[in-house]
Structures are given as structure tokens and as C-alpha cells.
């Protein structure tokens, strides 16, 4: 369960403070999927960052699975992300000096898991990249990189996955493959998924769609039954 109440986010800039999120209230039920759509600069990614404990809101509460994020310090947030959140970025953000397997193993290692390497190998098999385990990000295509990133996001079996334009840097076919994979694991594991996208078709595959304009969430449309992909 993700619950955001009265979230405000103001960031400093050289031209003065910028008011990015304005009074956001949002609840996402456990095991459901939600997409956030809206024009550029409307604050979608910032909302995702607040949800992931990456950005601290200027006001309001963020609660995930019963944990109040504002009560955590920086390192507490890092631990929380490690154990509860899988994050997928538009630009993949794989670490270029590490192989695919090492990138996937990283969250496990950060969590001090013993069997990081075999677990990473299994995850790569799961996303269909078992044969690319020893390749570096620079040797992989965009789609492959995002699959590695997905495997990495799933490594700690997080109950919540957040994805920021996961197909934004990919062609549509490759994007489809990734999305199928994403929804597949979300369903199989019963995880909660929040994704930000420009793509209406992708948004429609989520159980709920919320539109953001100028830092505010518009009223919710009716919740629909699970779309079958």
C-alpha cells in the first residue's frame, strides 16, 4: 500500500524556488498497478522520486507498506529502497564498469546476501539474458540494457516497483517486450507497480491511470478491472 497525503515539493534553483508538486493525495493498493501520465514538466518524475524516497517532500506524508518515509534519515531511506523498492529508469542507469551480472548482483551485495551471483544469473535467465551475463552495458543494446535494469530492480524481490518512462529510450517493439516482461513479473509476484509514461497505450494497461498537470493530480477516472495484456 502506497499512501501520499498532501505532498508539496519545492526545489531551490538559481532563479528562485520552483514549486513542483502541489498538494498531491494518492493511494495505491497493494498488488495493483497505476500509471501517471501528463505533459512534460508537470511533475510526474518528481512524484515518482518522492514515492521512492529519493526526493524528500517539502510538506506532506509518504507511507509505503506502513513505513512513514519522512521518519527515515538518508541511510534509512537507502535501506528502505534496498528492501522494498525496485526502480526502473528511462536511461537505464546501469553502471558502465560492471558486467550485466554484476549490475544485477549489486543490490543483493549491498544487502549483504550470500548467494548474489547465482541469484543474479537466475534473474538474467528470467529476463532472457542468461547468455549476456558477462557483457558490459556498452556491449548491450538499449532493450537488453533495460532488461538488465529490470532484473536488477527485481533482485531483492521488492513489493513495490516504480518505473520512470521505462520505454522512453526504446523503439516500440523493444518497448513492448520490456513492458510484457514488467507486467508479467508484477502479476506473478503480486507487486505494486507505479509507472510514469507518455505512451497512452502503455498507460492503459495499468489498472488505474492518473493524469498530472502543473504539479496537481486530476481527479481519478473509474477503476477498471485488470486489463489483460
Amino acid at each position: 500500500m502506497i499512501r501520499l497525503s498532501d505532498i508539496d515539493l519545492t526545489l531551490p534553483s538559481t532563479a528562485g524556488p520552483v514549486h513542483i508538486l502541489k498538494g498531491i493525495d494518492l493511494a495505491v493498493a497493494e498488488g495493483t498497478s497505476l500509471s501517471i501520465v501528463g505533459p512534460s514538466g508537470s511533475g510526474k518524475s518528481s512524484l515518482l522520486a518522492v514515492m521512492g524516497g529519493i526526493e524528500r517532500p517539502s510538506a506532506g506524508r509518504v507511507e509505503i507498506d506502513g513505513t512513514e518515509l519522512s521518519a527515515l534519515d538518508e541511510d534509512g531511506l537507502a535501506r528502505f529502497r534496498r528492501d522494498h523498492l525496485g526502480i526502473l529508469f528511462q536511461a537505464f542507469h546501469l553502471i558502465p564498469t560492471m558486467t550485466a551480472a554484476e549490475n544485477v548482483a549489486l543490490p543483493l551485495e549491498l544487502a549483504g546476501r550470500r548467494n548474489a551471483s547465482p541469484a543474479a544469473a537466475r534473474l538474467l535467465e528470467e529476463v532472457g539474458l542468461g547468455h549476456r551475463a558477462r557483457h558490459y552495458p556498452g556491449q548491450l543494446s538499449g532493450g537488453e540494457q533495460q532488461r538488465v535494469a529490470l532484473a536488477r530492480a527485481l533482485a531483492n524481490e521488492p513489493p513495490v516497483i516504480i518505473a520512470d518512462e521505462p520505454t522512453g529510450n526504446l523503439d516500440s517493439d523493444t518497448g513492448h517486450d520490456i513492458i510484457d516482461l514488467l507486467f508479467g513479473v508484477q502479476r506473478d509476484r503480486g507487486a505494486t507497480l507505479v509507472l510514469v509514461t507518455h505512451d497512452p497505450a502503455l498507460a492503459e494497461r495499468c489498472q488505474a491511470v492518473r493524469r498530472m498537470v502543473d504539479g496537481r493530480l486530476e481527479a481519478p477516472a473509474a477503476t477498471r478491472p485488470l486489463a489483460v495484456g
Partner: protein, 842 residues
């Protein structure tokens, strides 16, 4: 522990991507560490050689030295233990001339004579060319001499020399003699004869300045130090002093330690300046890793883990730089062995000396840690939000208090190393104080200069305005560059200005006021003849003369001198015998600060007038007593007056102790006379004196000054080399700064090109930026180096301040050259970047 393991795993993978841009980091550490390691290794080799050859250098396990007269045989026999071997020698300065020259004799030259017995040398060996045994060379009026004496006299091996009343035959060239205590300023070339030859020459008149040496090989099992101590305890008021071989190393070390301390600290300075380069390089490195750090954080890495991951990388890389520095520093002494052999009287055994290497490595690691921790502590705070947006305003934050405490702790350890790691701790402490003051001053002035340049440039033409803006934009490394270059330039300025002051003091100060030649060992019955000789020589006159005796202070205010508290800076007055004089009337230029001068016809108990600084160092005043051993007789004299400090720089004969007449004027003594001679008169005068009074020895002030100048020049060169190393490190820091700002400059260059700027415009922009940096650094260097030099001249050297403009101009020009050259190099690469680059940027 787990954190460290993860840090190690991640760091290892991170480093696969190469650590580009960290060459400056490596070089900064390697140079500083190499400098410290090299100085320490040479010092280690000297120390080891001194310990190994202590007996050889001293000439025995122990040595007794008596001034002016030989020890009576009975007294000597009572001192030596059963089974000891003894070698006797006399050291004095003499005049020699070629005996083969025209009837009235050839040119006379001063030689440092050593007359030895058949047992010499007890330890070590004399090296002669052609190779032969010394005793064979010396028998039947033979002599050996340094090549310099042969050259000055224009003679060769086989020629005969006139020594006083005797002719001696030069049988070989003296290549190396074993018993040479380093550090004494030898003005005359060495000459060795047998003792009977010296006796026959009759140059050694009563009271003449001579040292009688008794070198002793102690029986096995005798501890030389303990034996000497017992000897002194049993004879507290003797005229002689004994030394054991255990004192050789500390004695010479007093001289070498000071130089080693200065050079080590100069090495540390260059390491600290390099620290700024380390900090810049680390900052550049972590800036290139922002995305990785943010990703690590988004995956759940805590900021402590992030810090550990990068600290591990930096320290690993530091280990590489330090190892390179250690190898270079340890090998350098081997490489410059030829140079060192020419400067030192002993053969060095170069080896690996772990102590100095450990010290250098420790200083290197601490520097890397302290200077890297600041940027790393800021990097650990990079938010994972960086992945979602460009940092809105990457405001520069201070590291956390814990990191600040760690940096402070590291600096404190470095300070501790600077004090404990050098031979002379007091200088180390001064260095720490000076370094802190200089750093604060540099940082403050750097900010002021940047502010000033910014203000000046704000209203100029476009390139100047842009350059001024670059100096003060957020994240600018101008302050680091100014501090680093400024520190190097300050050291160079200080050395240059100090050398200027010293050289002026030597070259201009002395000859104006000082006599040109001092004659010693004039017998009282020769005084009239000597006076006449000077009078007969046109352009020469006696400026000052005094009777001279050698005596040793044996009691201070009733306390035996070995037990008395004598301040370190006047300890030289009690270490061995000193020259003293007596006078009825107040000598000219005398200023009393306490007490009164005795009446001219005074004939009561012995009185003494003491120089102010020495009296203070002894802790005595008017009314206290000092006891002197004067040629075997102990005389207790009451202090009647204290005189103002002797101004040695005035070139007058100065005596620490002046006794009242009446008691000691009957003791055998000689006269000393300072003679002012017009140019060209010195040589004929010394020749005339040498022929008429062969036992009288002249000391040419010009020659002393020349030797002093050479010594200052040699030390100045060593210091200048180290200062240049510091400046080179400063230039490296500049290179590091260029590296860090490369992306920014590239972006700016391309952007300006897109907007229509020509290459000439860009060149002007960058040249303005680098020239203002150079000018700022020169200003800092001149101001701080000038203050430093002035303080040293004022507080330490106590000389008149003199601003030598040449070093200052050279420093300013050097600074501009270095910055403009680096700037031109960086700009050249930037100008070639095509405008399209910007468009391809993500």
C-alpha cells in the same frame, strides 16, 4: 566489516573503467613522497656511515684534545688505561713555500698542517697518490699534501717545500685522510708531516694556536663513552676535553640534521601543496561518477557505503602513487652518489632505510586521506534524485561534522609527523605553526585576489568579463590553484630573497668595514717587527690588535661546567677551548650594559668582562665568578661587567671574555692583529710577514668570505631545488584544475562557437583567465614569500632587510609563464573541438 567487503567488491569493478584524470593525483603524491623519501634516505645513509666510521672519523675509540700545549707525559700516562694504544698528533695552520724558488723564496701559502706520530692512523687508512704507506712517505722529512696545495704553490710530487726553518719533501698527494670531522670550514689545504719535522721547523712557538690530539684505541671490553665520562668526572677542571666515538654521530648530526630537517619539511610542503591537486583530482573524479553514485544510492547503497567505495579506490590509487614515490625516493640517493661523494668526507652505504620510507609513505597516505576526504564527503551526499533531473542548484555543502573531525584528525597526525619525523623537533614545530599561518593567509589572500580580479574584470571587454566570471563561478577551482601556485612561488621567493640578503651581507657588507687579513700566532717579541712590517707596506695599517690566549670555561658561578645549566645557543662557548684576551682600558666600540670597567692600573684579583648574550645563557651577572683553565692553571675571575652583544657582522675582533690585566699577562700568549690592506697590498704584506716571521699565519677574510659564499651557495642550491619541486607540484595542481574544468570549458567553448565566437576571441578569453590566475598567484607568492623572508631576516638572521628585486621579478615572470603555458596547452585542445559536439551531447 561487511561494508568494507562490499566497498572492496564494488570499488574493484568501478576501477575497471579506468581512473582517467587521476594522473595529476598520482604525480602530486609521487613527487612529494619521493622528495621526503630521498632526503630521509640520504640522511639515513649519512647516519649509518657516521655510526659505522665513528672511530675512523675521530681517529680512535676516544680522543683527548688540548689547546696550545702538549699534555705532560706523566699526566697523559695517568689518564690512559692499561693496554690502550695511543697516537699523538698536532693540528695547526702554517705558512709554506716552495723551497726551489728564487733565493728570496717563492709565494707563501697557508696550509692546515697535521703532524703525526708513527702510530697514526689507529683506525682507517690514508689514501695517497701514488699509492704508498703514509709512514714511508713521512720518514726523513717527507710530507704529503692535498692537490690544492700543490696547485697553489705550483709544485709537484718530489719538490721540496720550506716549512719554517726546515725543508720538507713532498712525496705524495693526499687523496683521503680518515680522521676528518665534517662541518669545519677548512680554508686551507691539508698538509701532513711527521712530528719530528714539525719540531725541527720551529713554527710552533709557545702560545701559538695549535691543538694537540691524543687518539686512543681502548682495550677490548672498555666502553668508550663510559670511559670518557669517568675521565671528565675525575678531572673536572682539566684544560683538555675528551670525546668518545659515541659522540661523533651526534656531533656531526647537529650540522647535517638541520639541513635534513629543512629539506624534509620542504618535501612535506610540496606534498601538502600536492594535496590540493589530490583534492581537485578527486573532485573531478567523483563529478564524473555522479550518475554511478546516484544509481548506487537508488539501489539502496547508504552514503557510508558510497564513501567507503570511493575511499577504497582513492586509497588504492594513492598506494600506487606513494609506491612510485618511494621507489624514486629510495633510488635517488644511488643516482646522485657521485654528487654526494664530492660533498661529504665519508663513503655512504646506500641501502633501503625503512624508517624514512615509512615516514614518507605515512605522510603520503595522510595527505591523500585528508585532501580526498573533503570532496568524497560531499560526494556521499549526492542524491539519487540526480537520476531524475539535473541537480537544480548543486550548492556546495560542508562535509558532515564526523568527516570534518576525521580531516582535522588527519591534519593533526600530519603535524605530528612533521614534528616527530624530522631530526630537529623545534624546527618541526615552527614549521607546523608557519604552515598553519601561511595556509590561512594564502586562503584568505586567494579569496581577496579572486574578488579583486572579478571586480576589475567586470567592466572590461567581453573576453575579460567572461574570464572574470569563470574565476568566481560556483565550483571554480581558482582558489585551489592560487593557493597551490602561490605556496610554491612563496617558497621560491623566500629562498631568493634570503639568498639576496645573505649575499649582499657577505659581498658588500664585510669588505667595506672589515679588515682584509687577520694575522695570528704573533709572538710578543715579534710584535715590534710585525708592526714595522705593516708600516713599511704602503696602504696597510693595523686596525685592531689584542693578546690572545686559549682557555676553557671549567666552572660557572662555582658549578662545574658539566653540571651547569647552559642555554643551548651559547653552548658553543663551553664545548672546547675559546680564545680570550685581556685589556687594561675599555676596548673601542665597547658598550657596557651592567657593571663597570676596571681602572687602567688595576692589579687586584682577576676580573672578567662577559658578553651579554653569553652571560644570559649562563645565567650569571656582575659579581658571579667564572673559572677558566688557562694552559693547565685554573683561574677564577669575578664578573665585573657585562658588554653589549658582539656585532659579528661588523668584522671586528670580538671576544666573549675579556680578562683584567695583571694575572694572566705573564702566561705565554700570542698577539692577533687585524690589518686593513688596500687592494693589491694583501699579497705583498703576507709574503713579507711570511719571510720575516715564518710562524705567523695570515687568515684572509676575502678567502673566508668566498668559502662562506660557496657554502651558502651550495645550501641555497639544495633549497632552491626543493622549492622548484614545490612549484612543479603547484603547476600540477593547475593542470588538475584544467582537467576538472575541461568539461565546463569545452561546453563553454562550443557554445560560444555556436553563437559565433571566432577562435581568436576564445583564445583571448582563455589567455585572460590564465593570465589573471598567474598574476594572482605571483602576487600571493611575492606577498607571503616576502613576509616569510622578512620574518626570517628579522627574527633568525638579525640582519638588515634588503629587497633583491631580481628574485621577485623572476618569480612573477615564472608564475605567468607556468600559467600561460598550461593555459595555452589546454586552450589548444579546446579550440580544436568542433561545434557539433554540443549537439551530440545527451
Amino acid at each position: 566489516m561487511r561494508n568494507l567487503k562490499i566497498a572492496w567488491i564494488v570499488a574493484r569493478r568501478e576501477m575497471r573503467g579506468g581512473m582517467r584524470g587521476l594522473a595529476v593525483f598520482l604525480a602530486c603524491l609521487a613527487i612529494g613522497v619521493a622528495a621526503i623519501a630521498a632526503v630521509g634516505s640520504v640522511q639515513g645513509a649519512i647516519d649509518a656511515a657516521l655510526r659505522r666510521d665513528a672511530a675512523v672519523l675521530l681517529g680512535g675509540d676516544a680522543a683527548i684534545e688540548n689547546a696550545n700545549r702538549p699534555l705532560p707525559a706523566a699526566e697523559l700516562a695517568g689518564l690512559l688505561p692499561q693496554g690502550a694504544r695511543l697516537s699523538e698528533a698536532v693540528r695547526t695552520n702554517v705558512m709554506v713555500a716552495s723551497a726551489a724558488a728564487e733565493p728570496d723564496g717563492g709565494r707563501h701559502v697557508v696550509a692546515a698542517l697535521k703532524a703525526v706520530d708513527g702510530a697514526y692512523p689507529l683506525f682507517g687508512a690514508v689514501e695517497l697518490a701514488p699509492a704508498m704507506r703514509l709512514q714511508d712517505a713521512l720518514e726523513n722529512g717527507g710530507a704529503v699534501a692535498e692537490q690544492a696545495l700543490l696547485t697553489r704553490l705550483g709544485v709537484a710530487v718530489g719538490d721540496r717545500l720550506q716549512l719554517g726553518e726546515r725543508e720538507i719533501e713532498l712525496r705524495a698527494v693526499l687523496v683521503r685522510e680518515p680522521d676528518v670531522m665534517a662541518g669545519r670550514l677548512e680554508i686551507a689545504p691539508r698538509l701532513i708531516v711527521a712530528q719530528d719535522a714539525l719540531a725541527a721547523s720551529a713554527v710552533l712557538q709557545p702560545g701559538a694556536l695549535a691543538h694537540h690530539l691524543y687518539r686512543i684505541a681502548l682495550p677490548d671490553g672498555t666502553d668508550p663513552a663510559a670511559w670518557v665520562e669517568a675521565l671528565h668526572e675525575g678531572n673536572p677542571e682539566s684544560s683538555w676535553r675528551a670525546r668518545s666515538r659515541a659522540e661523533v654521530q651526534p656531533r656531526i648530526a647537529r650540522l647535517t640534521d638541520r639541513l635534513a630537517t629543512f629539506l624534509s619539511l620542504a618535501g612535506l610542503t610540496s606534498l601538502l601543496v600536492g594535496g590540493l591537486g589530490v583534492g581537485l583530482a578527486v573532485r573531478g573524479y567523483v563529478e564524473s561518477r555522479i550518475a554511478t553514485i546516484a544509481t548506487l544510492k537508488s539501489l539502496g547503497a547508504g552514503s557510508r557505503q558510497v564513501l567507503a567505495i570511493y575511499l577504497v579506490q582513492i586509497l588504492l590509487l594513492a598506494a600506487v602513487g606513494i609506491a612510485a614515490g618511494l621507489v624514486a625516493g629510495a633510488l635517488l640517493p644511488f643516482a646522485i652518489d657521485g654528487l654526494l661523494a664530492g660533498l661529504l668526507p665519508i663513503r655512504l652505504d646506500h641501502a633501503l632505510y625503512p624508517g624514512p620510507l615509512l615516514l614518507a609513505a605515512g605522510a603520503g597516505f595522510l595527505t591523500a586521506f585528508v585532501f580526498a576526504l573533503w570532496p568524497l564527503s560531499i560526494a556521499r551526499e549526492i542524491s539519487p534524485a540526480a537520476l531524475f533531473r539535473d541537480e537544480v542548484a548543486p550548492e556546495r555543502r560542508l562535509p558532515r561534522p564526523s568527516a570534518l573531525a576525521a580531516i582535522g584528525g588527519g591534519l593533526a597526525l600530519l603535524a605530528l609527523l612533521a614534528v616527530l619525523g624530522v631530526p630537529q623537533k623545534v624546527i618541526g614545530m615552527w614549521f607546523v605553526g608557519a604552515a598553519v599561518a601561511a595556509s590561512l593567509l594564502l586562503a584568505l589572500l586567494a579569496r581577496l585576489v579572486i574578488g579583486l580580479l572579478h571586480r576589475l574584470g567586470r567592466h572590461g571587454p567581453l573576453p575579460i568579463r567572461l574570464a572574470a566570471g569563470n574565476l568566481r563561478r560556483p565550483g571554480s577551482s581558482a582558489a585551489s590553484v592560487l593557493v597551490a601556485l602561490g605556496a610554491g612561488l612563496a617558497v621560491l621567493t623566500m629562498v631568493g630573497l634570503l639568498q639576496g640578503v645573505l649575499e649582499r651581507e657577505l659581498e658588500q657588507g664585510l669588505p667595506d668595514r672589515a679588515p682584509s687579513v687577520v694575522f695570528i700566532d704573533i709572538q710578543p717579541d715579534q710584535w715590534q717587527r710585525f708592526g714595522a712590517l705593516v708600516e713599511e707596506t704602503e696602504g696597510a695599517q693595523i686596525a685592531q690588535s689584542a693578546p690572545l690566549l686559549r682557555a676553557r670555561v671549567v666552572r660557572i658561578a662555582g658549578v662545574p661546567v658539566d653540571e651547569a645549566a647552559v642555554a643551548e645557543h651559547v653552548r658553543w662557548t663551553v664545548r672546547r677551548d675559546r680564545g680570550l684576551t685581556y685589556a687594561a682600558a675599555t676596548p673601542p666600540d665597547t658598550e657596557l650594559v651592567a657593571g663597570r670597567w676596571w681602572p687602567e692600573d688595576y692589579a687586584g684579583e682577576p676580573l672578567v668582562s662577559v658578553e651579554e648574550e653569553v652571560a644570559r645563557g649562563y645565567g650569571v651577572g656582575v659579581g658571579d665568578t667564572l673559572a677558566f683553565n688557562l694552559l693547565g692553571r685554573v683561574i677564577e675571575a669575578r664578573i665585573a661587567s657585562i658588554r653589549r652583544e658582539i656585532d659579528w657582522s661588523r668584522g671586528r675582533l670580538g671576544f666573549v671574555f675579556i680578562l683584567s690585566p695583571g694575572v694572566i699577562d705573564k702566561a705565554p700568549h700570542t698577539m692577533i692583529a687585524a690589518v686593513e690592506a688596500a687592494p693589491g697590498v694583501e699579497l705583498p704584506l703576507t709574503e713579507a710577514v711570511a719571510r720575516a716571521l715564518p710562524n705567523v699565519t695570515p687568515i684572509s677574510i676575502g678567502e673566508v668570505v668566498a668559502r662562506l659564499g660557496e657554502a651558502i651557495g651550495t645550501i641555497g642550491l639544495a633549497v632552491r631545488i626543493v622549492a622548484a619541486v614545490t612549484l612543479a607540484t603547484g603547476a600540477l595542481v593547475l593542470a588538475g584544475a584544467v582537467n576538472v574544468s575541461r568539461q565546463r570549458q569545452l561546453y563553454q567553448t562550443v557554445l560560444l562557437k555556436v553563437l559565433g565566437a571566432r577562435r581568436a576571441d576564445l583564445l583571448r578569453l582563455f589567455l585572460a583567465e590564465y593570465a589573471s590566475l598567474g598574476a594572482g598567484a605571483a602576487l600571493l607568492g611575492l606577498v607571503i614569500g616576502g613576509i616569510g623572508a622578512w620574518l626570517v631576516v628579522w627574527l633568525v638572521l638579525d640582519l638588515d632587510w634588503h629587497l633583491a628585486p631580481l628574485p621577485a621579478i623572476a618569480v612573477a615572470a615564472g608564475a605567468l609563464l607556468v600559467t600561460l603555458a598550461s593555459g595555452a596547452l589546454a586552450t589548444w585542445r579546446l579550440l580544436r573541438a568542433p561545434a557539433g559536439l554540443l549537439l551530440r551531447r545527451p
